[in-house]
Structure formats: structure tokens, C-alpha cells
Assembly symmetry: C2
Homo-oligomer: 247 residues x 2
Amino acid sequence: MEKKRVRLVVAYDGTAYHGWQYQNNAVTVEEKLHDAIFNLTKEDVEVVGASRTDAGVHSLGNIAVFDTDSPIPADKFSFALNQYLPEDIRVLKSDEVSPDWHPRKVNSKKTYEYRIYNAPIPLPTKRLYADFEYGDFDVEAMNEAAAFLIGEHDFKSFCSEGAQVLTTVRLLYDAKVYREDTDIVIRVTGAGFLYNMVRIIAGTLMEVGRGKRAASEMPKIIEACDRQAAGPTAPARGLTLIKYEFE
Amino acid sequence: MEKKRVRLVVAYDGTAYHGWQYQNNAVTVEEKLHDAIFNLTKEDVEVVGASRTDAGVHSLGNIAVFDTDSPIPADKFSFALNQYLPEDIRVLKSDEVSPDWHPRKVNSKKTYEYRIYNAPIPLPTKRLYADFEYGDFDVEAMNEAAAFLIGEHDFKSFCSEGAQVLTTVRLLYDAKVYREDTDIVIRVTGAGFLYNMVRIIAGTLMEVGRGKRAASEMPKIIEACDRQAAGPTAPARGLTLIKYEFE
């Protein structure tokens, strides 16, 4: 009998992890999922993730698949795996997909949120899930600047060195910036993102918010196709992968 | 010259602490504040807190005072102490009060929030600041039940053993329960609270929400003046001291 492919929706607090992808000398989310599946099924599977989030980045809905001979129904894996996972990783949902369904080879929309806690003094209960920034931000200017990112562009200026990709062209469906109580939220939806792309977008938009750059400079920053043209990479703790939507 | 009395508004993530009050063999918030003041001023002061929150309970606005000969202006202590405090404790504000001002001897209103993340599966990024509960809750019934708590009552049924108090009579100004997205929030404001009182109120209201008790039973539970009459003590992580208001 053919193995079945199980798809997982995975939420995690990235604080304690060196990102998603397996590493020899550091604890990762992929490793914890692999171990939980092994402890549940005794199968040594390959866990394939949709997004290889960086160290410290959080998720409300990363996607992973694995193949199994286990008689456990696909939709029961969620509850079963949670018994073997640490408290800071949870499988929110599981279902069966066709054996050729690959989370990085299907068309999808991904939504990320970058959250800034904007106040005079950091708040301890916010420190893990938002970047702290004091001082004034022009959120309208940030939102204006973000609008220039929407569409298909070469986002090379917003990609950290060391990424091996065939093309740095990506398609953004939406990018907006708004206040939510004490927070400034940068929310972007796209067909795909480059290495550190959302954090570099956040760092650049923060410079716009502080008046160091004009919103109208964004097209020039994009056109430069040069990492030096954009702002700094904002801290990982502010970033959360919100959701995947598949066609 | 007389020492000046400095008042602090203190926020903390209670996860790593054995509560507010100094203990010999455990790390507490009071100890961390004491040490920060010592490192800043070289004075070995007594830090007097308004609320001795339990292990694991969070704060957005506990109050503390200490006396000092330091030339640092009272309103500058906030920023100065934050340089010496761990990331999970922050002084949000500091000011000078009269030398006889004592945070437990002045009339005040305290507001606490007990937060329940109500969903099928726990969310990692919510686990530290909310109690997780799955299943259905009748939030209207919880709110009805909470209304019976408003006013001056003997809250002995809502007080854990081991507390040394002259009276278990307390005055509640407000108590309400409402949904906030995926959360159920229990918000209470009172002139004072007994040991574990808000967590026992939360545990009792959750039983009402699950239909184990009727809202109309609350007067009987109060009148019993017996800890056994009320529900369980809800977990500490769901509780946050929101603010103090002084006359």
C-alpha cells in the first residue's frame, strides 16, 4: 500500500529555536517535529516545511508534510503529535494530501506580520512577540511606502546575502502598515519571500516612519537591486508567519 | 536632609519568578528590584510593594516604594533602574511621594484581568499569558455570575488557606466577563483582594461557563464562607495585575 502524505499546520513560539530547518548543533522546529513523529509512529520520516523561518521568528501557521505508513487517520495526527511536542510548538490541524503535494511547489499566498511595540519603555509581557521601538513614527508615511512594494518586483535590495535562489523576483499581493493600540503592524501577503525579506522591509519602513527616508524613495530602493540601498534587517522577534493559503 | 520616597510603577512577566515577595531560595521580583536599586545607588533599601503577586502572575502596573538619599531625581529612576533590570521586569514610571505614603495603607482601586484562551488547541505564542481551555463556555452566564460579586462581601469562600488577614471582607467595584476575539476575559476591580481571590473567582466562573454551576448559585457560594464551596484556583499564568488607581 502506498504511504499517505500528511499535511500539518504548525504554530510555534520561535524564541527558543534556531529557526525551522534542521541543524547539526542547534535545536530547530523541524527536529522537534521529526522527533515527535518518530516517538508516535517509530518512523524516521523527512519533514518538509513550507517556510524555513529564521531563528526567533514565530508562526501561527507554517505548513509541513511527511509520508507515513501509520494507521492513524491523517486528521488525528494533530492531537496525537501535540502529546509529544514541547509547549512552544503545536500542530493546529492535520489532513491528508495527495502523495505529490509539496508545500513549496504549489501556488500559495503567505501572510507575515511584523509587530512593533511603540512606547516609551518596553513592556515585559510584549517583549517576546514584538520589536520595541520608542519615539514617534509616521505610520501613514510607512503605509504609503509599503504600497510601492505591491506587485511583481525584483526584491534583490530586500534579500540578505547568502541566499541561493534562481531569481529575486517576487510577487506581493498586499503590504500595509497600521496602528493597533500601542503596536504598529506591518502586514504583507505574497506568493513568496526572499531570505530576510520581511525583516528588511520592516527595517526600511521603520526608517521611513522615523523620517530618515521619504516614502517616495521606495521605487528607487527597489530599482537599485542592492542590499545596501535598503534599511537594516529588523529583529526576528517582531516577525510572525500568520498563514498560508493554497489554491 | 530627609530621604525622599520614590514610587515605581512596575511591569513584569511573572513566568520566571516565584512571585513578588522576597524569598530565601527562589528568585522574586522584589529581589530583582532591590538588587537593581543597590547596583544603581549602592543603597541597601527595603522595597515595599503594593501587591504581593503569586508565582507566575504578571503585572502591567504593580506599585512599589523605597527611600533613598540618591541625588537622582525621582522621575529619572524609571530609566536608570531599567539599565540594571532583566528584560522581563520594567519600571514604567517613577515619581516622588510624601515620606509617609505607603502603597498598602492608602485607598486604591486595583484592576486584575484573568485571560482564557478558548480554542481547540493551545497557541504557543499565547501560552505564557493566558490559561488555555477548550470546549464551550457560556460567557453570558459567567458575566451574570460575576455581577453577584460586586459590592462589599465576606469573600472567605474565595480565599486560599494560609493567608493571615484580619478580615476576609472586601469591596469589589466591578466584575465582568467578555469575549475578546479568541479569549475570554474576566476583569475585576476592587479596593483589595484576598490570597488567590481572583484565581478562585476565575476557577468558579469557569465552572459556571461550562454549565457545572448556575450563575444564580453565586450568592450561596459567597454566603457559605467556605473555600470548599467555590471552584478550583485557576492557573497563575492567566492572571495579570493591570493597574492601581489611587485617590
